[in-house]
Structures are given as C-alpha cells and as structure tokens.
C-alpha cells in the first residue's frame, strides 16, 4: 500500500476534475457568491443598495420608455452594452442604440411587464457583477388574458462612475430547461 500507484491515480483524478471544472460553463461551475476574491474590493452596504436600485430602475425605464428611451440608456456607462441572446442575438452599444431598445411598441407608465427578482450581486475586479431573474408578463392588455410571456435572466457587469453605479454590460438569456426528469410533471399534466 506504500506503492506510488494509488497516489498517481488520485492525482490523475484530481487533475481530470480540475480540467472538468475549467471547461464547464461559468454558470454551471460558479455559484454566484457575494464574497470578494483576493483581487476585488468588498462592496459596502451602500454599494449593494445602489446596485439594487440601478437594476430595479432598469425595468421601470424599459417598460415606461421614459425620455424616448434615454431613461433606460442613461442607466448604462457611455460605452455600455446590452446583449440579447434570443432569436439570433443582437448587441446594442452606446446611448442612442440603447435608447432604441426602450422605445416603440407598448410603453408607458401603466405598463408593467418586466418583473425582476432574485438579484444577486458580487464584487469583481472592475466593480461588481450580478444576475437577476426576469419574467415578462402580459397583464392588463386590452382583449387578452393575463399570461406569462417569457422569462430568463440578466447577466450584468456594473461599474462605479461619477454619476453612480451603471451597467457596463447586460446580457439577457432566455430560460431553457435542459434536464426534465420523467418524474417531474409536464405542463398540462
């Protein structure tokens, strides 16, 4: 039992495990945590609250279309980017492009569609990152039954600017189930 073989096997397994962790998608291997790593600064309570408020304001700005969409655009840094990954994907960068996302179609102060929850935030070397669930519900649409339209999550990078915390980058991913055990009931069952 003092042979080096078990040790070699153990080391091999450990290396394989490390490799597996390296190639797994980030969202699979890295639970979102609020802990600062060695090269990040911890966030203060005021930082958390300001980032929470920024994230929540984005839903209001998107649904209201305030200021012809610029209320939404101004929540981003000047070079800020929004990436929509559904339907082939699209990337919008800069104030004018971002404003186009938040105007047109159905907007207004009595439009509530983007309900965000589960907002987690963690410090990063460049400021902070975070994620939030978003469910898009169609409610109060004349002639239609209220319904859940779609949903998913936002993956965010935040940056502290002289004007306060802003989105540096926001990416939307549509919810998609990959594993549906046979024991879990299907819709309609």
């Amino acid at each position: 039992m003092t042979s080096g073989r078990p040790l070699t096997i153990a080391l091999g397994i450990a290396i394989l495990a490390m490799l597996a962790l390296t190639v797994l998608p980030a969202q699979q291997r890295e639970p979102v945590t609020a802990r600062a790593s060695a090269n990040t600064s911890p966030l203060t309570d005021v930082d958390y609250i300001e980032i929470q408020q920024l994230q929540r304001k984005s839903a209001w700005a998107l649904d209201s279309g305030d200021n012809y969409g610029y209320a939404f655009a101004d929540l981003f840094t000047p070079d800020g980017t929004f990436v929509g990954t559904s339907e082939g994907g699209r990337t919008l960068q800069g104030r004018d492009q971002l404003a186009t996302l938040a105007r047109g179609g159905t907007r207004g102060h009595t439009v509530q569609r983007h309900f965000t929850m589960n907002h987690v935030v963690k410090p990063s070397a460049a400021g902070a990152t975070g994620r939030a669930y978003v469910v898009v519900a169609d409610v109060g649409v004349v002639g239609q039954k209220n319904k859940v339209n779609q949903g998913g999550y936002y993956d965010d990078e935040y940056q502290k600017t002289p004007q306060g915390w802003r989105f540096k980058r926001r990416t939307y991913y549509e919810s998609k189930v990959d594993v549906w055990p046979a024991s879990a009931p299907r819709p309609g069952q």
Binding site: T33, D45, V46, R113, V139, K176, V177
Partner: protein, 342 residues
C-alpha cells in the same frame, strides 16, 4: 392520508409561526443579535442565490447544498402525505439535482423577503412563485406552476450567512382554518430590527442611509404577508400605515378602515397572492417615495391551473415615525397597454 398531511402541515406551520410570533412580538433579548444593513443585504443575497442553485443544479447540486449550514434542513411540506425533510450536504445536493434544471433554467422566483433578528442569528420568510418558463422547445406555453412561502432560519457561519432551516409551504387560499398567530408583521419587529432609533439613523434631511433603505424595503416586503395571510383582522396590515395614511384605490383612510379593507380581501394562513418586484426608493425632504411592480397570481390548488389575476404598480410616500418607516400614502395603478412613448 390527506388528514395526516394536513395535520402534519398544520403542526409544522404552527410550530414555525408560533416561533416567529414569539420573537416578533418582543423587543430583541440580550441573546438576539443586532443585524447591520450589511447583514440584511447578505441574507437577502443568500435567499436570492437559492433560486440559481436549485434551478441550475450547479456543481451537481452542491452549490445548493452549500447554501446551508452543516446540520441544516430543508422541509418540503408538500412532498408526500406528511412532508419530507432533507438533512446533510449529500441529501440536499441530491434534492437539487433531482428536478428540472439547466444552466439557463429559471423557475424559482423569490420576492417579498422579510428578515428579522432572532436568537442565534435571524429568521425570515419569502414568497416563491414556481414558473415553467422555457420548456425545452417543446412548444408548451410558459405558465405559473405553483408557489407558496419559505420560512427560514439563518445562521452566520465563518463562510457567511447560511440557512439553518428552510421549510416550504404551498399556497392555500380561503379563510384561515384557525386564527393564525402573527407572523413577522408586528410593527415593533421592523423598528426593533434596526437596532437604534429612527432619528439617529438619518444623517441629513433629504438623504437616506443604508439602514433607511433596508427598513423601507422591509416595510414593503411585509405588505403582502399582512394582506394575504391577514393573521389579525387586518391590524398588521393597518399598522404598516401612518395613522393618517391614505390608500387608493378604493380610497381608504385611517387604520380601522384599512384593517376592514384588508379583511375583505381573500386571505389564509398560507396564502400567497401579491408578488412585488422592482422596488425603487428615492429620498425626499420629508422622507421618501417609492414604487414597485405588483403581479397578483392566483396559484392553482388541488391540481387547478394557476392564473395571473392582475398586474400593475404601487406608488408610495413613506414617512419615518417613532414606530419606524410607514406608508403615508399608497396608490395602486393597474397595468394597461400604454401609448407609444413620446
């Protein structure tokens, strides 16, 4: 079996609620820690990470298991005829990898997070809506599957705040079967949680401290519990308002009228209907104003489908009183298709 399940659920609920009632109704004892604004935020972050860990099944379920303290438990009171409890890292991880999951799967929507200090750490409760969104491309429509309440006990460990226990109770509507004890809606709980007098926490007129934000967030988070569960003929609901507050619509003034209004709404000891989101707060010279989205979900019972009753938003004015932050005015505006933005 149904009777057994009901008895079990009632027993567990009573135990948890009585525990909450006991702590909420009293000022913090010497063994009750004072929670800082950062404690509230870290516990809130723990609660929000739960959804990601469970829905993704990350790290083969261990991302979920590691949100719990070593000896912690999760109890699903809706699992089996008498509920089921999972304890220990391996069993909790197995739970998280046993259901629907995927790196981009979003199912557990948590909101209305109420937190209070308690001996040994903190306790809390949250609403959870469990949605089927994105069904793997099988063409099925997104829908609300079910929902309810998590009742939590939190403990601060060297690794940060963790769940000591978490129990899920499925939403059940209707009048309370028995008068439930007060949950975390006791007004004193809110001001006591801050650990100092309101006056000492506001530094300058027109500015809000982190603690002010937390207390206003907690005030709003308590609103759905007071309305949906209404444990005391609307008194908890009314006490969220100032004595001269006005609610619209219908226009209702004064705590007694507010209590009556709340009691006329559907409620039950385990009923969850009002899901609030996107709560933003701004300081004013007199206090603060805020607004948040509301989606009222009629969660299906006994196999019936769920549906969205209505949606819209609240516009609030908050006032700082000797009891803590309270609603000065609260106005509900139903969502409606808007004109194109100008």
């Amino acid at each position: 079996m149904k009777t057994m399940r009901k008895a079990f659920t009632t027993a567990v609920l009573s135990f948890v609620l009585v525990g909450f009632s006991g702590t909420a109704a009293q000022q913090p004892s010497s063994s009750t820690p004072v929670l800082t604004a950062l404690d509230y935020l870290e516990i809130e972050q723990l609660v929000y990470r739960y959804g990601y860990a469970l829905d993704t099944g990350a790290d083969n379920g261990f991302a979920y298991a590691d949100l719990y303290a070593d000896d912690a438990t999760f109890t699903g009171t809706n699992q089996g005829p008498s509920g089921r409890t999972y304890q220990g890292r391996e069993r909790l991880a197995a739970l998280a990898r046993g259901g629907k999951r995927g790196p981009n799967f979003m199912s557990h929507w948590v909101t209305n997070v109420v937190i209070e200090p308690a001996p040994g750490g903190a306790i809390g409760k949250t609403y959870v809506g469990i949605f089927d969104i994105g069904n793997g491309g099988n063409g099925a429509k997104s829908r609300v599957d079910h929902g309810g309440i998590y009742n939590d006990v939190y403990v601060k460990t060297p690794k940060g705040w963790r769940f000591k226990s978490r129990s899920f109770f499925e939403s059940t509507s209707g009048a309370p079967v028995q008068p439930p004890p007060a949950m975390l809606t006791t007004p004193h709980g809110l001001s006591a949680a801050a650990g100092s007098t309101p006056e000492s926490r506001t530094q300058n007129p027109g500015t809000l401290t982190a603690q002010d934000y937390i207390e206003i967030q907690q005030l709003v988070a308590r609103y759905p519990y007071a309305l949906d569960q209404n444990p005391d003929d609307g008194q908890s609901y009314a006490n969220l308002f100032t004595t001269d507050a006005v609610f619209r619509q219908p226009r209702t003034e004064g705590r007694q009228n507010l209590a009556t209004m709340a009691s006329r709404a559907p409620h039950g000891a385990k009923y969850t209907r009002h899901f609030l989101a996107n709560h933003v707060i701004d300081a004013t010279a007199d206090g603060a104003v805020g607004k948040q989205y509301l989606v009222a979900v009629d969660i299906g019972e006994s196999g019936q489908p769920s549906s969205i009753f209505l949606g819209g938003h609240y516009e609030d004015v908050y006032a700082k009183t000797p009891e803590g932050w309270r609603f000065k005015t609260r106005t509900f505006i139903a969502s409606a298709t808007g004109a194109e933005a100008k």
